[in-house]
Symmetry: C2
Subunit: 219 residues, 2 copies
Protein backbone atom coordinates (compact mmCIF):
# COMPACT_ATOMS: atom_id res chain seq x y z
CA UNK A 1 0.00 0.00 0.00
CA UNK A 2 2.08 2.85 -1.33
CA UNK A 3 1.02 6.28 -0.32
CA UNK A 4 2.36 9.49 -1.72
CA UNK A 5 5.61 10.41 -0.04
CA UNK A 6 4.94 13.09 2.51
CA UNK A 7 6.86 16.20 3.40
CA UNK A 8 8.49 18.39 0.79
CA UNK A 9 7.31 16.27 -2.11
CA UNK A 10 6.83 19.56 -3.81
CA UNK A 11 5.14 22.83 -2.91
CA UNK A 12 1.62 21.47 -2.65
CA UNK A 13 0.14 24.82 -1.74
CA UNK A 14 1.18 26.48 -5.00
CA UNK A 15 0.29 23.40 -7.02
CA UNK A 16 -3.22 23.46 -5.52
CA UNK A 17 -3.65 27.13 -6.40
CA UNK A 18 -2.39 26.54 -9.95
CA UNK A 19 -4.75 23.62 -10.42
CA UNK A 20 -7.61 25.69 -9.06
CA UNK A 21 -6.81 28.56 -11.44
CA UNK A 22 -6.73 26.26 -14.44
CA UNK A 23 -9.98 24.52 -13.55
CA UNK A 24 -11.81 27.68 -12.46
CA UNK A 25 -10.80 29.30 -15.74
CA UNK A 26 -11.95 26.52 -18.02
CA UNK A 27 -14.99 25.21 -16.16
CA UNK A 28 -15.92 28.07 -13.87
CA UNK A 29 -15.77 28.12 -10.07
CA UNK A 30 -19.20 26.65 -9.50
CA UNK A 31 -18.72 23.77 -11.91
CA UNK A 32 -15.30 22.86 -10.55
CA UNK A 33 -15.36 20.14 -7.89
CA UNK A 34 -12.84 19.84 -5.15
CA UNK A 35 -12.30 16.27 -6.34
CA UNK A 36 -11.13 17.58 -9.72
CA UNK A 37 -8.68 19.90 -8.02
CA UNK A 38 -7.44 17.12 -5.78
CA UNK A 39 -7.04 14.73 -8.72
CA UNK A 40 -5.07 17.27 -10.71
CA UNK A 41 -2.63 17.80 -7.85
CA UNK A 42 -2.50 14.12 -6.93
CA UNK A 43 -4.02 14.42 -3.49
CA UNK A 44 -7.32 13.51 -1.85
CA UNK A 45 -10.06 15.99 -1.14
CA UNK A 46 -9.33 15.69 2.54
CA UNK A 47 -5.79 16.90 1.96
CA UNK A 48 -7.03 20.04 0.28
CA UNK A 49 -8.58 21.06 3.57
CA UNK A 50 -5.19 21.01 5.17
CA UNK A 51 -4.26 24.02 3.00
CA UNK A 52 -7.59 25.82 2.65
CA UNK A 53 -10.58 25.70 4.92
CA UNK A 54 -13.16 26.11 2.17
CA UNK A 55 -13.36 25.95 -1.60
CA UNK A 56 -13.95 29.67 -1.92
CA UNK A 57 -10.84 30.42 0.11
CA UNK A 58 -8.92 29.09 -2.90
CA UNK A 59 -10.74 31.54 -5.13
CA UNK A 60 -10.17 34.41 -2.74
CA UNK A 61 -6.44 33.78 -2.61
CA UNK A 62 -6.15 33.64 -6.38
CA UNK A 63 -7.96 36.97 -6.68
CA UNK A 64 -6.19 38.78 -3.85
CA UNK A 65 -2.73 37.85 -5.05
CA UNK A 66 -3.47 38.51 -8.71
CA UNK A 67 -5.19 41.84 -8.27
CA UNK A 68 -2.54 42.87 -5.76
CA UNK A 69 0.17 42.29 -8.34
CA UNK A 70 -1.82 44.08 -11.03
CA UNK A 71 -2.46 47.10 -8.84
CA UNK A 72 1.19 47.30 -7.75
CA UNK A 73 2.39 47.09 -11.35
CA UNK A 74 -0.14 49.71 -12.39
CA UNK A 75 0.91 52.12 -9.66
CA UNK A 76 4.53 51.63 -10.63
CA UNK A 77 3.66 52.37 -14.26
CA UNK A 78 1.85 55.64 -13.59
CA UNK A 79 4.56 56.75 -11.15
CA UNK A 80 7.16 56.35 -13.90
CA UNK A 81 6.00 59.50 -15.71
CA UNK A 82 3.83 62.55 -15.30
CA UNK A 83 2.92 62.51 -19.00
CA UNK A 84 -0.55 60.97 -19.39
CA UNK A 85 0.49 59.48 -22.73
CA UNK A 86 3.35 57.62 -21.12
CA UNK A 87 1.13 56.58 -18.23
CA UNK A 88 -1.41 55.08 -20.62
CA UNK A 89 1.39 53.35 -22.47
CA UNK A 90 2.65 51.90 -19.22
CA UNK A 91 -0.82 50.81 -18.13
CA UNK A 92 -1.43 49.15 -21.48
CA UNK A 93 1.78 47.21 -21.19
CA UNK A 94 1.05 46.18 -17.61
CA UNK A 95 -2.50 45.13 -18.42
CA UNK A 96 -1.63 43.16 -21.54
CA UNK A 97 1.26 41.45 -19.82
CA UNK A 98 -1.09 40.50 -17.02
CA UNK A 99 -3.83 39.31 -19.37
CA UNK A 100 -1.59 37.46 -21.80
CA UNK A 101 1.03 36.34 -19.32
CA UNK A 102 -1.46 34.22 -17.40
CA UNK A 103 -4.76 34.28 -19.28
CA UNK A 104 -6.36 31.67 -17.08
CA UNK A 105 -5.73 33.61 -13.92
CA UNK A 106 -6.89 36.81 -15.59
CA UNK A 107 -10.10 35.15 -16.67
CA UNK A 108 -10.78 33.84 -13.18
CA UNK A 109 -10.23 37.30 -11.72
CA UNK A 110 -12.48 38.85 -14.36
CA UNK A 111 -15.38 36.45 -14.22
CA UNK A 112 -15.65 34.58 -10.94
CA UNK A 113 -15.80 37.12 -8.15
CA UNK A 114 -19.55 36.66 -7.81
CA UNK A 115 -18.88 33.47 -5.83
CA UNK A 116 -17.07 35.22 -3.00
CA UNK A 117 -19.15 36.07 0.04
CA UNK A 118 -20.14 39.70 0.51
CA UNK A 119 -17.19 40.69 2.65
CA UNK A 120 -14.51 39.11 0.49
CA UNK A 121 -16.09 40.34 -2.69
CA UNK A 122 -16.08 43.89 -1.41
CA UNK A 123 -12.38 43.79 -0.61
CA UNK A 124 -11.58 42.29 -4.01
CA UNK A 125 -13.70 44.84 -5.85
CA UNK A 126 -11.96 47.60 -3.94
CA UNK A 127 -8.66 46.39 -5.38
CA UNK A 128 -10.09 46.31 -8.88
CA UNK A 129 -11.63 49.77 -8.51
CA UNK A 130 -8.32 51.17 -7.31
CA UNK A 131 -6.64 49.76 -10.39
CA UNK A 132 -9.29 51.12 -12.76
CA UNK A 133 -8.97 54.50 -11.09
CA UNK A 134 -5.38 54.65 -12.32
CA UNK A 135 -6.74 54.53 -15.87
CA UNK A 136 -9.46 57.06 -15.14
CA UNK A 137 -6.97 59.48 -13.59
CA UNK A 138 -4.57 59.23 -16.51
CA UNK A 139 -7.36 59.77 -19.02
CA UNK A 140 -8.83 62.67 -17.06
CA UNK A 141 -5.46 64.36 -16.67
CA UNK A 142 -4.77 63.94 -20.37
CA UNK A 143 -8.08 65.60 -21.15
CA UNK A 144 -7.40 68.44 -18.71
CA UNK A 145 -4.11 69.16 -20.46
CA UNK A 146 -5.74 68.97 -23.84
CA UNK A 147 -3.63 65.98 -24.90
CA UNK A 148 -6.59 63.63 -25.06
CA UNK A 149 -9.99 64.63 -26.30
CA UNK A 150 -12.71 62.21 -25.28
CA UNK A 151 -16.42 62.84 -24.93
CA UNK A 152 -16.91 60.58 -21.95
CA UNK A 153 -14.10 59.51 -19.65
CA UNK A 154 -15.97 56.55 -18.15
CA UNK A 155 -17.08 55.16 -21.46
CA UNK A 156 -13.57 55.48 -22.85
CA UNK A 157 -12.03 53.81 -19.83
CA UNK A 158 -14.52 50.96 -20.06
CA UNK A 159 -13.88 50.57 -23.79
CA UNK A 160 -10.11 50.51 -23.32
CA UNK A 161 -10.19 48.01 -20.47
CA UNK A 162 -12.69 45.76 -22.20
CA UNK A 163 -10.58 45.86 -25.34
CA UNK A 164 -7.51 44.73 -23.44
CA UNK A 165 -9.39 42.06 -21.50
CA UNK A 166 -10.35 40.50 -24.79
CA UNK A 167 -6.76 39.32 -25.01
CA UNK A 168 -7.49 36.77 -22.29
CA UNK A 169 -9.79 35.03 -24.76
CA UNK A 170 -7.86 34.98 -28.00
CA UNK A 171 -4.20 35.38 -27.08
CA UNK A 172 -2.01 32.31 -27.58
CA UNK A 173 1.66 32.32 -26.71
CA UNK A 174 2.46 30.48 -29.95
CA UNK A 175 0.13 32.67 -32.03
CA UNK A 176 1.18 34.71 -35.06
CA UNK A 177 1.89 37.91 -33.11
CA UNK A 178 4.37 38.29 -30.31
CA UNK A 179 3.20 39.97 -27.13
CA UNK A 180 5.40 42.95 -27.96
CA UNK A 181 3.70 43.34 -31.32
CA UNK A 182 0.28 43.11 -29.70
CA UNK A 183 1.21 45.79 -27.17
CA UNK A 184 2.29 48.09 -29.99
CA UNK A 185 -0.89 47.43 -31.94
CA UNK A 186 -2.98 48.18 -28.86
CA UNK A 187 -1.05 51.39 -28.27
CA UNK A 188 -2.06 52.54 -31.73
CA UNK A 189 -5.70 51.65 -31.10
CA UNK A 190 -5.75 53.19 -27.65
CA UNK A 191 -4.30 56.50 -28.79
CA UNK A 192 -6.69 56.56 -31.74
CA UNK A 193 -9.51 56.22 -29.20
CA UNK A 194 -8.11 58.95 -26.98
CA UNK A 195 -7.50 61.55 -29.66
CA UNK A 196 -10.91 62.62 -30.89
CA UNK A 197 -9.82 66.14 -31.84
CA UNK A 198 -9.68 65.19 -35.51
CA UNK A 199 -12.58 66.25 -37.72
CA UNK A 200 -15.57 64.05 -37.03
CA UNK A 201 -16.18 61.59 -39.82
CA UNK A 202 -19.92 61.28 -39.49
CA UNK A 203 -22.75 62.22 -37.15
CA UNK A 204 -21.97 65.31 -35.05
CA UNK A 205 -23.42 63.42 -32.05
CA UNK A 206 -26.01 66.00 -31.02
CA UNK A 207 -27.42 64.72 -27.75
CA UNK A 208 -24.37 63.06 -26.24
CA UNK A 209 -23.09 65.70 -23.87
CA UNK A 210 -19.88 65.48 -21.92
CA UNK A 211 -20.57 63.41 -18.85
CA UNK A 212 -17.97 62.32 -16.36
CA UNK A 213 -18.12 59.17 -14.23
CA UNK A 214 -21.51 58.12 -15.42
CA UNK A 215 -21.53 54.45 -16.28
CA UNK A 216 -21.81 52.07 -13.38
CA UNK A 217 -19.26 49.46 -12.49
CA UNK A 218 -20.06 45.85 -13.44
CA UNK A 219 -21.91 43.56 -11.03
Amino acid sequence: MERAPTRKRENSEQRILDAAISLFATRGYAATGIRQIADKVGLTTASLYYYAQTKDELLLRVMRVGLGELLASGEEAVAASTDPREQIRGLLKVHLNFAAGNPERARVIDNEFQWLDDEDRESVIALRDAYEQLWADAITEGCRRGIFLVKNVSLTRLALLEMCNGATHWYRANGPMSLEQIVLAFEDMAFALLRTDEPLTVAPAPGAGLTVETAQSPQ
Copy 2:
Protein backbone atom coordinates in the same frame (compact mmCIF):
# COMPACT_ATOMS: atom_id res chain seq x y z
CA MET B 1 -56.05 19.61 -2.86
CA GLU B 2 -55.71 22.53 -5.26
CA ARG B 3 -53.34 22.07 -8.11
CA ALA B 4 -52.25 24.74 -10.54
CA PRO B 5 -54.88 25.21 -13.26
CA THR B 6 -53.76 23.38 -16.35
CA ARG B 7 -53.97 24.32 -19.99
CA LYS B 8 -53.28 27.83 -21.17
CA ARG B 9 -52.48 29.15 -17.75
CA GLU B 10 -49.81 31.16 -19.46
CA ASN B 11 -47.13 30.35 -22.01
CA SER B 12 -45.02 28.12 -19.81
CA GLU B 13 -42.49 27.44 -22.51
CA GLN B 14 -41.46 31.07 -22.88
CA ARG B 15 -41.57 31.64 -19.14
CA ILE B 16 -39.22 28.71 -18.64
CA LEU B 17 -36.78 30.08 -21.22
CA ASP B 18 -36.91 33.54 -19.66
CA ALA B 19 -36.27 32.13 -16.20
CA ALA B 20 -33.39 30.07 -17.58
CA ILE B 21 -31.85 33.14 -19.25
CA SER B 22 -32.05 35.16 -16.07
CA LEU B 23 -30.55 32.43 -13.89
CA PHE B 24 -27.90 31.35 -16.40
CA ALA B 25 -26.84 34.99 -16.73
CA THR B 26 -26.50 35.71 -13.02
CA ARG B 27 -25.31 32.35 -11.69
CA GLY B 28 -23.93 30.62 -14.76
CA TYR B 29 -25.29 27.52 -16.45
CA ALA B 30 -23.43 25.04 -14.30
CA ALA B 31 -24.42 26.64 -11.03
CA THR B 32 -28.08 26.93 -11.96
CA GLY B 33 -30.22 24.04 -10.79
CA ILE B 34 -33.33 22.88 -12.54
CA ARG B 35 -35.12 23.33 -9.22
CA GLN B 36 -34.30 27.04 -9.27
CA ILE B 37 -35.70 27.36 -12.77
CA ALA B 38 -38.81 25.42 -11.80
CA ASP B 39 -39.31 27.53 -8.68
CA LYS B 40 -39.00 30.76 -10.64
CA VAL B 41 -41.66 29.65 -13.11
CA GLY B 42 -43.86 28.12 -10.44
CA LEU B 43 -43.63 24.53 -11.63
CA THR B 44 -41.97 21.35 -10.44
CA THR B 45 -38.80 19.95 -11.91
CA ALA B 46 -40.80 17.14 -13.43
CA SER B 47 -42.86 19.62 -15.41
CA LEU B 48 -39.74 21.15 -16.90
CA TYR B 49 -39.03 17.87 -18.63
CA TYR B 50 -42.31 18.14 -20.45
CA TYR B 51 -40.88 21.12 -22.36
CA ALA B 52 -37.20 20.23 -22.60
CA GLN B 53 -35.61 16.81 -22.47
CA THR B 54 -32.41 17.98 -20.78
CA LYS B 55 -31.09 21.02 -19.00
CA ASP B 56 -28.71 21.88 -21.79
CA GLU B 57 -31.51 21.85 -24.33
CA LEU B 58 -32.72 25.00 -22.59
CA LEU B 59 -29.30 26.58 -23.09
CA LEU B 60 -29.16 25.50 -26.71
CA ARG B 61 -32.53 27.06 -27.49
CA VAL B 62 -31.59 30.35 -25.87
CA MET B 63 -28.41 30.49 -27.94
CA ARG B 64 -29.88 29.37 -31.26
CA VAL B 65 -32.73 31.86 -31.11
CA GLY B 66 -30.59 34.74 -29.87
CA LEU B 67 -27.73 34.30 -32.30
CA GLY B 68 -30.19 33.71 -35.12
CA GLU B 69 -31.81 37.07 -34.44
CA LEU B 70 -28.44 38.79 -34.14
CA LEU B 71 -27.18 37.33 -37.40
CA ALA B 72 -30.39 38.23 -39.24
CA SER B 73 -30.27 41.81 -37.96
CA GLY B 74 -26.61 42.05 -38.88
CA GLU B 75 -27.18 40.82 -42.41
CA GLU B 76 -30.01 43.28 -42.79
CA ALA B 77 -27.75 46.09 -41.59
CA VAL B 78 -24.92 45.39 -44.03
CA ALA B 79 -27.38 44.93 -46.89
CA ALA B 80 -28.75 48.41 -46.27
CA SER B 81 -25.69 50.10 -47.77
CA THR B 82 -22.56 49.41 -49.77
CA ASP B 83 -20.64 52.06 -47.87
CA PRO B 84 -18.45 50.34 -45.25
CA ARG B 85 -18.90 53.32 -42.93
CA GLU B 86 -22.66 52.94 -43.01
CA GLN B 87 -22.33 49.18 -42.60
CA ILE B 88 -20.23 49.61 -39.49
CA ARG B 89 -22.71 52.14 -38.17
CA GLY B 90 -25.51 49.66 -38.76
CA LEU B 91 -23.62 46.81 -37.14
CA LEU B 92 -22.81 48.97 -34.12
CA LYS B 93 -26.46 49.83 -33.69
CA VAL B 94 -27.54 46.21 -34.09
CA HIS B 95 -24.93 44.93 -31.68
CA LEU B 96 -25.55 47.53 -28.99
CA ASN B 97 -29.30 47.09 -29.24
CA PHE B 98 -28.80 43.37 -28.85
CA ALA B 99 -26.36 43.74 -25.94
CA ALA B 100 -28.28 46.45 -24.10
CA GLY B 101 -31.77 45.38 -25.08
CA ASN B 102 -31.43 42.06 -23.28
CA PRO B 103 -28.10 42.06 -21.43
CA GLU B 104 -28.82 38.83 -19.64
CA ARG B 105 -29.42 36.91 -22.81
CA ALA B 106 -26.38 38.50 -24.41
CA ARG B 107 -24.23 37.47 -21.47
CA VAL B 108 -25.48 33.89 -21.62
CA ILE B 109 -24.73 33.72 -25.34
CA ASP B 110 -21.29 35.20 -24.78
CA ASN B 111 -20.16 33.13 -21.86
CA GLU B 112 -21.94 29.81 -21.56
CA PHE B 113 -21.51 27.98 -24.83
CA GLN B 114 -18.82 25.77 -23.33
CA TRP B 115 -21.57 23.69 -21.71
CA LEU B 116 -23.11 22.56 -24.97
CA ASP B 117 -22.02 19.19 -26.28
CA ASP B 118 -19.62 19.16 -29.21
CA GLU B 119 -22.23 19.00 -31.94
CA ASP B 120 -24.45 21.75 -30.59
CA ARG B 121 -21.50 23.97 -29.75
CA GLU B 122 -20.21 23.70 -33.29
CA SER B 123 -23.50 24.81 -34.77
CA VAL B 124 -23.76 27.71 -32.34
CA ILE B 125 -20.20 28.83 -33.00
CA ALA B 126 -20.90 28.69 -36.72
CA LEU B 127 -23.67 31.23 -36.19
CA ARG B 128 -21.40 33.47 -34.18
CA ASP B 129 -18.59 33.21 -36.72
CA ALA B 130 -20.98 34.12 -39.53
CA TYR B 131 -21.98 37.21 -37.60
CA GLU B 132 -18.39 38.24 -36.85
CA GLN B 133 -17.56 37.76 -40.51
CA LEU B 134 -19.98 40.59 -41.30
CA TRP B 135 -17.76 42.88 -39.27
CA ALA B 136 -14.57 41.53 -40.78
CA ASP B 137 -15.92 42.01 -44.31
CA ALA B 138 -17.01 45.58 -43.66
CA ILE B 139 -13.66 46.46 -42.12
CA THR B 140 -11.70 44.77 -44.89
CA GLU B 141 -13.72 46.46 -47.61
CA GLY B 142 -13.28 49.83 -45.91
CA CYS B 143 -9.52 49.25 -45.86
CA ARG B 144 -9.50 48.18 -49.49
CA ARG B 145 -11.21 51.41 -50.46
CA GLY B 146 -8.86 53.45 -48.34
CA ILE B 147 -11.68 54.67 -46.09
CA PHE B 148 -10.39 52.83 -43.05
CA LEU B 149 -6.76 52.45 -42.22
CA VAL B 150 -6.07 49.71 -39.72
CA LYS B 151 -2.89 47.76 -39.15
CA ASN B 152 -4.57 44.47 -38.38
CA VAL B 153 -8.13 43.65 -39.36
CA SER B 154 -8.58 40.79 -36.90
CA LEU B 155 -7.25 42.71 -33.97
CA THR B 156 -9.46 45.67 -34.81
CA ARG B 157 -12.53 43.49 -35.21
CA LEU B 158 -11.84 41.82 -31.87
CA ALA B 159 -11.30 45.17 -30.19
CA LEU B 160 -14.54 46.60 -31.58
CA LEU B 161 -16.63 43.58 -30.66
CA GLU B 162 -15.13 43.31 -27.21
CA MET B 163 -15.73 47.01 -26.67
CA CYS B 164 -19.41 46.63 -27.54
CA ASN B 165 -19.84 43.47 -25.48
CA GLY B 166 -18.73 45.42 -22.46
CA ALA B 167 -22.12 47.09 -22.57
CA THR B 168 -23.69 43.85 -21.32
CA HIS B 169 -21.85 44.42 -18.06
CA TRP B 170 -22.35 48.08 -17.27
CA TYR B 171 -25.43 49.16 -19.23
CA ARG B 172 -28.52 49.94 -17.18
CA ALA B 173 -31.78 50.99 -18.76
CA ASN B 174 -32.23 53.68 -16.11
CA GLY B 175 -28.59 54.81 -16.29
CA PRO B 176 -27.44 58.34 -17.07
CA MET B 177 -27.11 57.78 -20.83
CA SER B 178 -29.85 56.68 -23.18
CA LEU B 179 -29.15 53.84 -25.53
CA GLU B 180 -29.19 56.30 -28.44
CA GLN B 181 -26.52 58.40 -26.76
CA ILE B 182 -24.41 55.33 -26.13
CA VAL B 183 -24.69 54.27 -29.75
CA LEU B 184 -23.51 57.71 -30.86
CA ALA B 185 -20.61 57.64 -28.43
CA PHE B 186 -19.59 54.20 -29.65
CA GLU B 187 -19.77 55.39 -33.25
CA ASP B 188 -17.24 58.07 -32.41
CA MET B 189 -14.96 55.58 -30.71
CA ALA B 190 -15.32 53.00 -33.46
CA PHE B 191 -14.49 55.43 -36.24
CA ALA B 192 -11.57 56.75 -34.25
CA LEU B 193 -10.28 53.17 -34.10
CA LEU B 194 -10.81 52.61 -37.80
CA ARG B 195 -9.18 55.82 -39.03
CA THR B 196 -5.51 55.47 -38.26
CA ASP B 197 -4.37 57.63 -41.17
CA GLU B 198 -3.77 60.58 -38.87
CA PRO B 199 -0.18 61.30 -37.83
CA LEU B 200 0.91 58.78 -35.21
CA THR B 201 1.18 60.29 -31.77
CA VAL B 202 3.94 58.13 -30.41
CA ALA B 203 5.89 55.00 -31.27
CA PRO B 204 6.09 54.36 -35.01
CA ALA B 205 5.37 50.69 -34.24
CA PRO B 206 8.42 49.16 -35.89
CA GLY B 207 7.84 45.42 -35.74
CA ALA B 208 4.08 45.22 -36.08
CA GLY B 209 3.59 44.37 -39.71
CA LEU B 210 0.27 44.21 -41.49
CA THR B 211 -1.21 40.80 -40.80
CA VAL B 212 -4.69 39.71 -41.81
CA GLU B 213 -6.82 37.10 -40.06
CA THR B 214 -4.24 36.22 -37.49
CA ALA B 215 -5.75 36.06 -34.06
CA GLN B 216 -7.66 32.94 -33.21
CA SER B 217 -11.28 32.82 -32.24
CA PRO B 218 -12.09 32.40 -28.56
CA GLN B 219 -12.51 28.91 -27.08
